[in-house]
């Protein structure tokens, strides 16, 4: 009975094959035979390995797999004794058979391209091309597949790596020419944060890319619902068509992965993340995304650290990345994150195997590696029915290795793709190495020894029972042998082939003195031949290899292993307390902190009386002769921002947000903590009249971006006026974007808010409709930019405006008044002193520089008395940095309010603490030392306004994120860790491994005007 079913199944699968619509030149060449590959160890799938088994295939499919199979009569049998068969690998990230496009680089000497050059039926942005289909363009050339097949791949997913929405990929079997086959025309939809070949200015920044991805999806949703009334759009149409496909997002670095996943969460997608191999950096955060990953196994080469001085420029971060990269797969595997392995970035098959071996040496199990190359990728693109295992009915895609895969000695014999064999190393089923007895013409006897393998075989020969051996040249080709040696000054040249079924006897001819004579050799003993069993899948980590730990963040001054998330109750004794409250400065006072909040400020707090239940559950800090203040708040900062502080692609970019691109791994976070900064508003730059939304973060060094953000804070947005927005200093080619004058700036605002008003009206009208009515009518299109502008009109979002000249400040207040909203803060505002009364009347705050001026024409009238004057006129005044260096000396900047204009020290201190807290609507949570407020505190050695004051400890939520003593330890730690890695890299160099030149940190210090 089973036999009948078996044949029925075969017949069914044949049906599909007979249907060919291609005319045949000549006669039909049907191939109905079976091929059996026998006596092998077959890795059917994870958890099922068959010893001494047979794989039976017919045409492109697996007909059967098992031990003791009964083979049909029309079977061609291949003996694979001692060989190992695995499912062929699957690579999900390739550009196979597709011509890559070049990334566009606009030079400054070209006029910007503001609009798309594509036809109007496509989306308005050139980087959005979901309509792109790999199936339409994939056209592999001869040999394109060879590289992949030699690595053991049988199928690849291919798409054009270009643009933000990149369109769909195809699953391709790695056969060329007539055998080229798409297994799936559309397998997945692809995304990235790179705009690629698009020359359009927008988006110019990462946050712009993110906003664009959001807007496209809003547009698609609206389009799908309103197709009847709107113009046909090929791009949006394509997104709809491919909605059900898996979505793969190409990312660079863990932060980028968290961002991609967050976008997915917003729209209800679960992206599969194409990573870059640095997932170990924040493995727990990656785990919580629930995303599957596609990871490369490209490992950085060791740096050439032979020059100790140049090595100073090489950051520890890079050294650690070098050391940890090969451990990445182990981290993923241990964290039970589902991953597929890609060969992306590898140039040769040698690299592929070497790197996998290295990963296995570093603790990745072989099983996990195999799974990541077979079953997982198949599953991720919904192709498990076809590929990924060697079960019956699946495609005959498999690889034959001489031994357990991923061992140094293991050789690839052949990669079979859709039943077609691509042979590499001959499957000589005989280990030639050994000792032979050779005779020529049955007369002369020799002892022959063959050592080595395959083409690298070497021979030695001696007369029988003679100890003097001579070299014999051996050329082995398939089953043929050529042997030559010189003995007694006579050259012997023998050629022959294996002449028995067990491959133990060679025989052939030799020409001696013009006469062809016979020769033969019989193997006496084999070379010892050990093989690892497939089961012995041990993690063979070298013991002497110190692995190095991940730091959080993974760089100098990062936390080792874990983060300080434990609150500690703190009692500061006998400090000079700058309360920023009515009490002013309290000498010899105590401050008690519980659970990250200030519990009490008092004189000689008697703990037993006041907090009897507390027991010893607190740490006392002697603050005698020290000053305790609330943490510094920087209203205007550009640290910790990734890939662009300005979205300068358009004049109005309310849709973009810095909170999408917070970089938790910026060393300047730590540096600013050392200067007492605890909270920063990370602002968009000043390239546009309406810039992007800001991020409010606490400098929780080591945490991920999301955990740095101030919980429940109000939303802010950056506006800008003057020379930057009118592009005065952008060079002679930037003269086409509106506005180019202060006159135009006003109109940009006017237009934007008029549009926002209309947008609001549309929605109000729509929302007022009854259910039935709504169903009949069309909803307005959701527009991120206008939505954010509406929030401003609704006092749901607040404006911080970059400004210098009084005329423009005046203008914006008038404009806001006319639209019935208020400018929350004018930043820079260097001519604020000229309009302090107007600022006061409008209710705007002023966050200014202490003493900057003369860098541009519009700051020619800037004066250092500005802060004092605004303050004296009752304007809420602060000093900000806008500069990573000054950010860590804001206490000194506050002192300049005393120096220039005679503000009292108590009030001057508020310029960098309480006042910015109020500007950020956080005045009730931070900015002063008051019961119930966050314990964001700084302990200073001296009056904090003094140049001689240094930070002892900076606390955020009662946790010491910077501590001078700990810093001293960290410096040592940095040194020892560097030295350890330098030695390790020097050893690699000594061992002859290729190195790469020292590279230094890419410094990204943003200011308002940074265009990038």
């Amino acid at each position: 009975m089973p036999k009948i079913l078996f044949f029925l199944a075969l017949l069914c699968s044949l049906g599909a094959f007979s249907q060919s619509w291609k005319p045949v030149n000549g006669i039909k060449d049907s191939k109905n035979h079976y091929t059996a590959i026998s006596n092998a160890t077959i890795y059917v799938k994870n958890g099922q390995v068959l010893q001494n088994a047979t794989l039976l295939i017919r045409r492109d499919k697996i007909a059967a797999v098992g031990t003791a199979l009964k083979l049909p009569e029309n079977t061609i049998e291949i003996d694979a004794k001692g060989k190992f068969i695995y499912p062929a690998f699957i690579d999900l990230h390739t550009q196979y058979g597709i011509v890559p496009l070049k990334v566009a680089n606009r030079s400054r000497s070209q006029q910007p391209q503001l609009e798309s050059k594509k036809e109007s039926i496509f989306y308005w942005n050139e980087a959005v091309k979901p309509e792109m289909k790999a199936a339409d363009i994939v056209s592999p050339k001869k040999n394109d597949a060879e590289k992949f097949r030699k690595m053991g791949f049988g199928t690849v997913l291919t798409h054009q790596h270009d643009g933000i929405l990149r369109g769909t990929s195809s699953l391709v079997a790695l056969n060329e020419g007539d055998d080229f086959k798409l297994l799936q025309a559309e397998s997945a939809a692809h995304y990235s944060f790179n705009k690629g070949s698009s020359k359009q200015t927008y988006p110019s920044s990462l946050m712009g890319v993110i906003a664009l991805i959001r807007q496209v999806h809003f547009d698609e949703k609206w389009y799908a619902e309103n197709k009847q009334v709107t113009q046909y759009n090929r791009s949006l149409e394509a997104i709809g068509e491919t909605q059900k496909l898996p979505k793969i997002f190409e990312t660079y670095g863990t932060l980028s992965q968290l961002r991609a996943d967050k976008i997915g969460d917003e729209f209800g997608f679960q992206f599969i993340l194409k990573g870059d191999g640095t997932e170990y950096e924040r493995i727990q955060d990656i785990k919580t995304t629930n995303a599957a990953l596609i990871v490369p196994i490209t490992f950085p080469k060791p740096y050439d650290v032979s020059d100790p001085f140049t090595t100073l420029q090489l950051p520890l971060a890079f050294m650690k990345a070098w050391e940890l990269a090969p451990q990445n797969l182990r981290y993923l595997s241990n964290a039970e994150i589902e991953f597929a392995i890609t060969s992306d970035g590898l140039k040769t098959e040698k690299e592929f195997y070497t790197n996998l071996r290295t990963a296995i040496d570093q603790g990745l199990t072989r099983t996990a590696a195999i799974k990541g190359l077979t079953e997982t990728p198949a599953k991720l693109i919904g192709a498990s029915e076809m590929i990924g295992t060697l079960e019956k009915g699946k495609l005959a895609n498999f690889v034959i290795y001489s031994d357990t895969v991923f061992q140094e000695k293991t050789k690839l014999h052949a990669t079979w793709v859709n039943g077609i064999q691509h042979a590499y190393e001959p499957m000589s089923f005989f280990a030639y190495a050994g000792n032979y007895s050779l005779n020529i013409n049955k007369e002369t006897q020799f002892d022959l020894t063959l050592i080595g393998k395959g083409s690298a075989m070497k021979g030695k020969i001696a007369k029988k029972n003679d100890k003097e051996k001579v070299e014999a040249k051996v050329v082995l080709e398939n089953n043929r042998i050529n042997l030559s040696f010189t003995m007694d000054e006579k050259l012997f040249r023998l050629s022959g082939s294996v002449s028995d079924s067990k491959s133990r006897i060679w025989s052939g001819k030799i020409l001696i003195d013009g006469v062809w004579k016979d020769w033969a050799a019989i193997k006496k003993t084999s070379a010892s031949d050990e093989k690892d069993s497939l089961k012995s899948d041990s993690t063979s980590t070298k013991k002497d290899d110190v692995k190095g730990k991940v730091f959080y963040p993974n760089m100098a001054f990062g936390w080792e292993d874990s983060l300080p998330i434990q609150y500690e109750n703190l009692l500061f004794r006998n400090a000079t307390v700058w309360t920023n409250e009515a009490e002013g400065i309290l000498r010899n006072h105590d401050v008690f902190v519980v659970d990250g909040k200030i519990k009490m400020v008092g004189y000689k707090i008697n703990m037993e009386v006041m907090f009897p239940k507390m027991g010893n559950n607190f740490r006392e800090i002697d603050a005698t002769s020290l000053h305790l203040t609330s943490g510094i708040i920087d209203e205007h900062s550009h640290i910790a921002i990734q890939q662009g502080v300005n979205e300068f692609g358009q004049a109005v970019t309310a849709e973009v947000s810095i909170s999408d691109v917070v970089n938790s791994d910026d060393i300047n976070i730590y540096r600013q903590l050392s200067g007492g900064v605890t909270t920063s508003q990370l602002l968009h730059g000043s390239a546009n009249p309406i810039g992007g939304q800001s991020a409010l973060i606490k400098l929780r060094w080591g945490q991920s971006p999301e955990k740095m953000k101030v919980e429940g804070a109000d939303g802010f947005i950056k506006f800008a006026l003057g020379e930057n927005v009118k592009q005065s200093n952008w060079g002679d080619f930037n003269t086409v974007r509106f506005p180019q004058s202060r006159m135009g700036v006003e109109q940009v605002y006017y237009d934007a808010f008029v549009r926002a008003r209309e947008y609001q009206a549309d929605w109000t009208l729509h929302n007022a409709k009854g259910k039935r009515e709504k169903a009949k009518s069309f909803a307005p299109r959701f527009d991120l930019e206008l939505d954010v502008l509406s929030q401003i009109l609704d006092t749901q979002r607040f404006v911080t405006c970059h400004s210098y000249i009084q005329s423009e400040i005046n203008m914006l207040m008038h404009l806001a008044d006319s639209m019935d909203f208020r400018i929350n803060t004018f930043t820079h505002i260097l001519e604020g002193y000229k309009v302090a009364d107007k600022l006061k009347a409008h209710g705007a705050a002023g966050s200014t520089f202490s003493d900057w001026w003369a860098y541009k024409f519009e700051v020619n009238d800037a004066i250092p008395y500005n802060g004092a004057m605004m303050h004296q006129q009752g304007v809420l005044t602060g000093f900000n940095s806008d500069d990573a260096e000054m950010g860590r000396r804001l206490n000194q900047e506050a002192a300049k309010a005393v120096k220039y204009g005679g503000v009292s020290e108590v009030e001057a201190w508020k310029f960098v603490t309480l006042n910015p807290a109020k500007m950020l609507h956080l005045g009730d949570r931070i900015g002063s030392i008051k019961e119930g407020k966050d314990a964001d505190l700084v302990l200073w050695t001296d009056n904090p306004l003094s140049i001689y004051a240094k930070v002892v400890t900076t606390y955020i939520d009662g946790i010491a994120y910077y501590d001078a003593e700990r810093d001293a330890e960290l410096r040592k730690k940095v040194q020892t860790e560097r030295e350890r890695l330098v030695v390790k890299m020097l050893n690699e160099k000594k061992a002859g491994k290729p190195t790469q030149p020292i590279k230094k940190e890419k410094k990204v210090l943003y200011e308002c005007d940074t265009l990038e």
């Binding site: 302090a836 003369a854 006129q873 000054m886 009056n943 140049i947 590279k999 230094k1000």
Partner: protein, 430 residues
């Protein structure tokens, strides 16, 4: 004291406009009662400092000596205040550039690579609005140097007061400035670029070598068929009348420069010197002083101690190097007024306060070769000094209430104070 108040009141009523240069000292002046920081490491808690005809003729402690104040035409009581020698800003751009972003206001950079003949002297703008905001913080002198190319040009040292550059100059053509070529370090892993950069560096160094060899040969000869003004400008360098300021920061660059100049007998000064602390012996052996790059700066390497720039003055001083502080970099001209605070930070990070003061006074004067004239409050030197209400190295105390350049009492208003007063009136009248 009364006098003093009158003077201050006088200044407050000044009208808007550039500050009028002071007239030469006619009356002799005696400052009594202040804490005098002499700039040479010494402090006189209750000092009597007298000067006439532009030069200091008495530096005493008024506790120790009963003095005859009638010898001076004017006695100013400075009790509770501090006296400092005028601060000196080396390697500055004061008077060469007015508004950073406006090209027309910039005279700091000339075309070409080797320009010893190009002189800052004649471009120095005594009407600069920036200068007057700098001297109100105690910076009374500046070495003004061109930028750009390899030899950027010849610098001169100015008093920050005068009708014109002839009037203001303290030392003409004091030195040439060399930007030692930089070895770029890759930010990518491009091996080819790395090699390319190294080649470019070697080429640039070879060009310097060639220039000096030719200049040397030229200046050994007496007569020239054809004059080479470039090489002519090098003559004072070979005769040690001009110093050679080498601008370099990294180990290899400093080392290469120092060894290169071993072949010549020049008066060398290292400017920048971020890595100088790693090469202290090399510099010390040759008595090369360092004009240290901006103290208020971020560390150059990610892994550096977060306060490395702050404590650099201490490290170098401990290694026996003569250190002076400067302010080149972004917003360099207008930021020169913060020079005193760099010395303050040096003190906060371990340098003795008076030694820190020397880094912007006497050390600088020595390094620039003007210590016989200025740099400290000593008899025989110019009376270029000022009175501050408090510690001038700290923002909390830096309030310059009286300042003299070569005995001339200078105006302490500036365009910024004037705008302050102008707009204060706006609010007062409301």
């Amino acid at each position: 004291m009364k006098n003093f108040i009158v003077i201050i009141a006088c200044f407050l009523s000044m009208s808007v406009g550039a500050q009028t240069p002071a007239t030469p000292q006619t009356k002799s002046i005696l400052l009594v009662g202040a804490k005098a920081h002499l700039g040479n490491g010494k402090v006189i808690p209750n000092a009597a400092i007298g000067f006439r005809n532009g030069k200091i003729d008495m530096v005493l402690s008024s506790i120790d000596i009963r003095m005859d104040s009638t010898k001076y035409d004017e006695v100013i009581n400075c009790k509770g205040k501090h006296i400092y020698p005028g601060f000196i800003a080396p390697n500055s751009r004061l008077g060469l550039v007015e508004i950073g972003a406006v090209r027309a206001t910039s005279d700091q950079r000339e075309v070409g690579q080797f320009k010893p003949h190009v002189r800052s002297l004649i471009a120095f703008n005594t009407e600069s609005r920036i200068t007057s905001t700098v001297r109100t913080n105690g910076v009374l002198m500046a070495e003004v140097a061109p930028v750009g190319g390899v030899i950027t040009g010849t610098s001169s040292i100015f008093n920050l007061d005068g009708w014109n550059w002839e009037d203001a100059v303290l030392k003409e053509d004091n030195g040439i400035h060399i930007n030692w070529p930089r070895i770029r370090t890759s930010m990518d892993t491009d091996k080819k670029k790395d090699v390319e950069w190294k080649e470019r560096y070697s080429k640039s160094v070879a060009e310097i070598k060639e220039f000096f060899t030719e200049a040397n040969a030229y200046n050994k000869g007496e007569y020239h068929l054809e004059k080479n003004i470039r090489f002519e400008a090098m003559k004072p360098v070979f005769s040690k009348k001009k110093k050679v300021f080498i601008h370099a920061d990294r180990v290899q660059e400093i080392t290469d420069a120092v060894y290169f100049f071993d072949a010549y007998d020049f008066e060398l000064v290292l400017v920048g010197g971020y890595d100088a602390w790693l090469l202290a012996d090399l510099l010390k052996d040759r008595s090369i002083p360092v004009i240290l790059r901006r103290v208020h700066e971020l560390p150059m390497n990610q892994d550096d101690d977060v306060d490395l720039p702050y404590k650099m003055p201490k490290i170098l001083t401990d290694k026996g190097i003569l250190v002076s502080l400067e302010n080149s970099g972004s917003m360099e001209a207008m930021g020169t007024r913060n020079l005193p605070f760099y010395a303050g930070t040096a003190a906060a990070y371990g340098v003795d306060k008076e030694a820190a003061l020397a880094m912007i006074t006497l050390n600088t004067a020595k390094i620039l070769g003007i210590d016989a004239l200025v740099g400290s409050i000593e008899e025989g030197k110019y009376a270029t000094l000022f009175i501050s209400e408090g510690d001038a190295l700290d923002m909390r105390g830096n309030q310059v209430s009286l300042a003299f350049i070569q005995g001339k009492q200078i105006e302490l208003t500036n365009s910024q104070k004037e705008l302050y007063q102008k707009y204060s009136k706006k609010y007062e009248s409301e």
